[in-house]
């Protein structure tokens, strides 16, 4: 069985001040190659100022479908939203 190397997820910061954003992945043998492959594949047109690569297998993800209850706690705390509060008529800048 041939091998294409491990999968590395790629995150790119498009300019200083912005968060790194997931853009896809690359196959690579080792972290230097992962970084170089990510540069060649995802920044051919000056798309970024910084790249992160993370081994796919090291990412822990929640499971969207069979676990709706995972995000349940946020549903019954509507007082966390600014729109929950009554503001007296005429109050400004709040």
């Amino acid at each position: 069985m041939d091998t294409q190397g491990e999968i590395w997820e790629v995150f790119i910061q498009s300019k200083p001040g912005l968060a790194h954003k997931h853009v896809g992945n690359v196959h690579a043998m080792g972290k230097e190659m992962a970084l170089q492959n990510a540069r060649d594949l995802y920044t051919r047109r000056k798309e970024g100022t910084c790249i992160w690569v993370v081994k796919h297998q090291d990412i822990v993800s929640s499971v969207p479908d069979d676990d709706g209850s995972f995000f349940e706690p946020s549903n019954d705390k509507i007082y966390r939203a600014a729109t929950y509060y009554e503001i007296p008529e005429g109050a400004k800048h709040i």
Partner: protein
């Protein structure tokens, strides 16, 4: 935290509701097996097309007429490799490895776009490929940006951003040849003559003869039908040919005021199916070349893996 176990019926209901509300399906979401299979087939075929598509164009890199033309073509072919990789990445989220996809390509189980089984005989063909083949691909891919599977949709957005350079560089080649000597213009016309009909075939069979289209439309994998996309490509392209003084090789091509579209002649579907079945001019050559390059690169992958292991 209580985990509720949903029945397959309930899961299907959630899936269908997402599709009808336009909410994207993501890799970890439950999806019907047929939806997964359809995407694996369509997305890997799309990926293979980008990769095999490098061959007819790569054929002219060393013979490009100027240094400018050469660097442009190199950049374009590199983009095609990139597009193939975006699509393999997206396809892998469906639970099949890149090795498996490549194996399916090399053993003929998976297909790629038939257009790449035609040879590029002259420099003008590089113009025709960029203008027509990439032009047709853009029409299809712009529509696919809204496809229901998240990773596929994101790959399409990325690809569409890069693709318009491809079409414009091809059109520029055609325009220059068309304005050149009579021989150069003839070369451009000849390329258009050979690539026009195969480009129309890229959209696939008529809707009535396209057995898988029903499900693809129902699941919003495809948002417009083969015939709608083909019509849209023809309507755009006719004017572009007129501007550079070339003639579309279809005596039945005529503006239909009532429909608001061009009418056009019947496609030679026998030729289409013949090429799909493997009997086009270059089918064997394309796969042989891919397999050879893959096998000759095996030692590089082995060495890189050994090096990575040693350094871990």
């Amino acid at each position: 935290m209580i985990r509720e176990v949903k029945t397959e019926e309930e899961l299907l209901e959630i899936f269908n509701a997402k599709i009808s509300d336009g909410i994207k399906i993501e890799p970890k979401d439950w999806m019907p097996e047929d939806y997964r299979k359809h995407l694996q087939r369509q997305m890997s075929q799309h990926a293979h097309s980008e990769i095999i598509g490098m061959q007819p164009e790569g054929n002219w890199i060393l013979r490009a007429p100027t240094l400018r033309a050469k660097v442009i073509l190199l950049a374009k072919v590199q983009d095609e490799a990139g597009h193939g990789l975006y699509l393999y990445s997206a396809s892998e989220t469906l639970g099949k490895s890149r090795d498996e996809y490549i194996h399916e390509l090399q053993t003929g189980k998976a297909k790629y776009s038939s257009i790449f089984n035609y040879p590029t005989l002259s420099w003008a063909d590089i113009g025709a490929v960029g203008w027509l083949v990439d032009g047709a691909a853009i029409v299809n891919q712009v529509s696919l940006q809204r496809t229901s599977y998240g990773p596929y949709s994101r790959a399409m957005v990325r690809i569409c951003k890069e693709e318009s350079f491809h079409q414009r560089q091809g059109y520029e080649i055609m325009a220059r040849l068309a304005q050149g000597t009579p021989e150069q213009k003839e070369m451009a016309q000849d390329a258009l003559n050979r690539f026009w009909w195969p480009s129309l075939m890229m959209f696939g069979p008529h809707d009535a003869d396209s057995p898988r289209s029903g499900n693809a439309m129902k699941w919003k994998i495809k948002l417009e039908s083969n015939d709608e996309l083909r019509q849209s490509f023809i309507d755009k392209t006719v004017q572009q040919a007129e501007v550079i003084g070339l003639t579309i090789p279809d005596p039945d091509l005529k503006w239909n005021e009532e429909r608001g579209h061009y009418d056009f002649g019947e496609i030679n579907w026998d030729e289409f199916w013949n090429v799909v079945k493997g009997n086009g001019p270059c089918n064997k050559q394309r796969i042989d070349h891919h397999t050879k390059a893959h096998e000759e690169g095996a030692w590089v992958r082995e060495a890189a893996n050994a090096y990575a292991k040693k350094n871990n």
